[in-house]
């Protein structure tokens, strides 16, 4: 077990080093650099640009720039090109804003997708299954931003729900109850739209997993023993069908950060995705790089945990 853990962590650390190198090269090799953000500004003289480039180490060779980035990142000295604020602090603030959105989205996704997928598999070919399949494909095919626009118009017109930002401006003096309800309403719509796509994908996976499990011999045995259908499906079936989803847990993280770019931009949600989008517009390399890097770290931690959980949940898997 210890050997497995050590080797696994070691592999992931090596992977992380390569990820950082690739991210760094992609961002720095692509044309367009921070000094070109505002080319029409008459006050930007060539000597100013040269000064900026020198200050950001942009004229140094790539490996040196990489070394600077790594050194600053791990000593916590990394500063944003744009406003000279510490990058890690900035990311942490935005992460705290994104966290409720991620958590609620994941919660909605899993709570809806699992019962639905199981029912669709159990009643294969029924109206529920067919209608659900079509609905799932429609949701997968819906461009997220288009759905968001329709939803905003619909919700604001019909229910008069606040949708933009994290809270209503000017409510700082309101009571605690009022403020928290305001927060929850602001969270609901983005989370629902964010979740809609993943609900569709996940419920399809659950359905196909359940379909495979339902035809196993042990399910027939369980039925033959005279167990109730509920017990057969949810205790014997679902528990086995759940196993592959443990591994999906880690791989969901990059999707959450990547997918949040559009949702957070539309809803003016001051989270990680929006920070990334702004950083891209400003060619704010330290922020872009660190965001990619942190996403990769989170993914690696996620897949690592799911590997271990998988072994814990499934006694057939031996760690060696």
């Amino acid at each position: 077990m210890t050997a497995f853990l050590v080797r696994n962590i070691g592999q992931r650390l090596i992977l992380l080093v390569f990820i950082s190198i690739i991210a760094h090269s992609v961002v720095h090799l692509a044309p367009g650099d921070p000094s070109l953000v505002d080319p029409m500004n008459p006050r930007m003289k060539p000597e100013d640009i040269a000064r900026i480039r020198a200050a950001f180490h942009l004229d140094d060779p790539l490996h040196l720039q990489y070394a600077y980035w790594m050194r600053d990142l791990f000593t916590g000295q990394l500063k944003s090109f744009k406003d000279n604020q510490p990058v890690l602090e900035k990311l942490w603030d935005r992460f705290l804003n994104s966290l409720p959105l991620f958590l609620v989205t994941t919660l909605i996704t899993w709570c809806v997708a699992f019962p639905f997928g199981v029912q669709a598999a159990v009643n294969r070919g029924s109206m529920l299954d067919k209608g659900g399949t079509l609905l799932a494909y429609t949701l997968i095919s819906f461009p997220g931003f288009f759905l968001a626009y329709i939803c905003i118009i619909f919700m604001v017109k019909v229910f008069d729900i606040p949708v933009i930002g994290m809270r209503t401006f000017g409510l700082e003096d309101a009571g605690l109850w009022f403020q928290s309800m305001d927060r929850i309403w602001h969270l609901t719509i983005p989370a629902l739209i964010f979740a809609s796509g993943s609900i569709a994908v996940l419920s399809r996976y659950v359905r196909s997993q359940m379909l495979e499990v339902i035809h196993m011999d042990y399910i027939r045995t369980a039925r033959a023993k005279g167990l109730s259908e509920e017990t057969v499906i949810y205790k014997h079936g679902l528990r086995n069908a759940l196993l592959p989803f443990i591994t999906m847990f880690g791989l969901l993280i990059p999707g959450l950060i990547g997918g949040s770019v559009i949702i957070e931009t539309i809803f003016s949600w001051p989270g990680l995705g929006r920070l990334g989008y702004e950083a891209i517009l400003n060619r704010d390399f330290p922020v872009i790089l660190t965001l990619n890097f942190i996403a990769a770290i989170l993914t690696l931690i996620g897949t690592f945990l799911s590997d271990i959980l998988y072994a814990v949940a499934d006694p057939r898997i031996k760690l060696n």
Binding site: V27, L134, P143, F146, T265, T299
Partner: protein, 322 residues
């Protein structure tokens, strides 16, 4: 129907041919067949669109008619202020006009081949890279390069690519590169091959051990020929299924990029940038948002349903359960 049945009855022998068998399964899925016809219609439309928007002046999507802006769909052309040669096709604004009085129908037509090309080229790139790397890892996986095997090397690279938030990576690169259609296709293609590589590797691993590969080897058939003539045809089916769905994803990604302003730049029209231009007028001219939005939805849906039909047809596991 009768004729089809009699033909089917006389052709019982041929029903056992692999293609026929799969087609019969595919045909049972009505939504998949409908999607297939829809896509075929779309291809014809795309080819027609290339010719029409280039050579026929009523279909010119760039014709600006400022007195005719924001006309709702199905408005007949009656203006005295616009010259007759600038009249829209069939003298009617089928899908309305936009903020410059351009005919939305012609613009959507112009966008059709562009959006489809982006989808197909991006998927061709991702399938080529995926098949190449997956095939290498599957067939030559045991060869050692120094301390590590080829398989480890390639599959760790796949793991590495899976760690990046894909959409964010695409956005980063597209934002830094000059925005044009080729860069978008290449970037989408180069960031979406990981699934294909995994599929192909798994197929190659199992096919490599089959008896017919052994037989081919014993006849001293060159390795390249074994790979491309004997193994590849058997491994390609799941790849094609995932490629069909990949086209859908690529079209969605392009529209999302256009929405954020990094997509194909005006005056070239794609469905994505018609939508993103139109969203500013969503209250005054909702058709500018809804027409491209629903077009993207239906086309992507058709690709997805078609892919699902193919998956059912090519997945023997699912068939046994019927």
């Amino acid at each position: 129907m009768d004729i089809a049945e009699t033909i089917g009855g006389t052709l019982t022998e041929r029903e056992f041919s692999p293609f026929r068998e799969k087609w019969n399964i595919f045909r049972k899925d009505r939504s998949a067949v409908f999607s297939l016809w829809f896509l075929i219609f779309l291809f014809v439309l795309a080819i027609a669109a290339v010719l029409l928007t280039k050579y026929s002046s009523p279909f010119n999507p760039a014709t600006v008619r400022l007195p005719e802006k924001f006309l709702p769909p199905l408005t007949p052309f009656t203006s005295d202020l616009v010259q007759l040669e600038d009249a829209p096709p069939f003298n009617i604004y089928l899908l309305g006009t936009d903020e410059l009085g351009r005919d939305v129908f012609s613009r959507m037509l112009q966008g059709t081949p562009v959006s489809l090309t982006i989808g197909f080229v991006a998927v061709s790139i991702s399938v080529s890279v995926g098949v190449l790397l997956g095939g290498l890892a599957g067939f030559y996986g045991r060869i050692r390069l120094g301390p590590i095997t080829v398989d480890t090397l390639i599959m760790r690279f796949v793991d590495l690519m899976l760690c990046f938030p894909t959409f964010f990576l695409i956005l980063t690169v597209v934002a830094l590169l000059p925005p044009n259609i080729y860069n978008i296709m290449i970037v989408i293609g180069l960031t979406s091959w990981m699934g294909t590589a995994r599929l192909v590797r798994a197929e190659f691993l199992s096919l490599r051990e089959q008896d017919y590969v052994m037989a081919a080897r014993s006849q001293a058939i060159p390795e390249m020929r074994i790979i491309f003539q004997h193994i590849m045809p058997n491994a390609i089916a799941p790849v094609l299924v995932s490629a069909t769905i990949g086209v859908a994803t690529a079209i969605l990604t392009e529209s999302a990029l256009s929405f954020l302003g990094f997509g194909v730049q005006p005056p070239d029209a794609t469905w994505g940038n018609i939508l993103s231009d139109g969203k500013g007028f969503i209250f005054d001219a909702p058709w500018l948002t809804f027409i491209p939005g629903f077009t993207i939805l239906f086309v992507v849906l058709a690709f997805n349903l078609c892919g699902e039909g193919l998956r059912e047809a090519y997945n023997p596991k699912l068939r046994q359960q019927r």
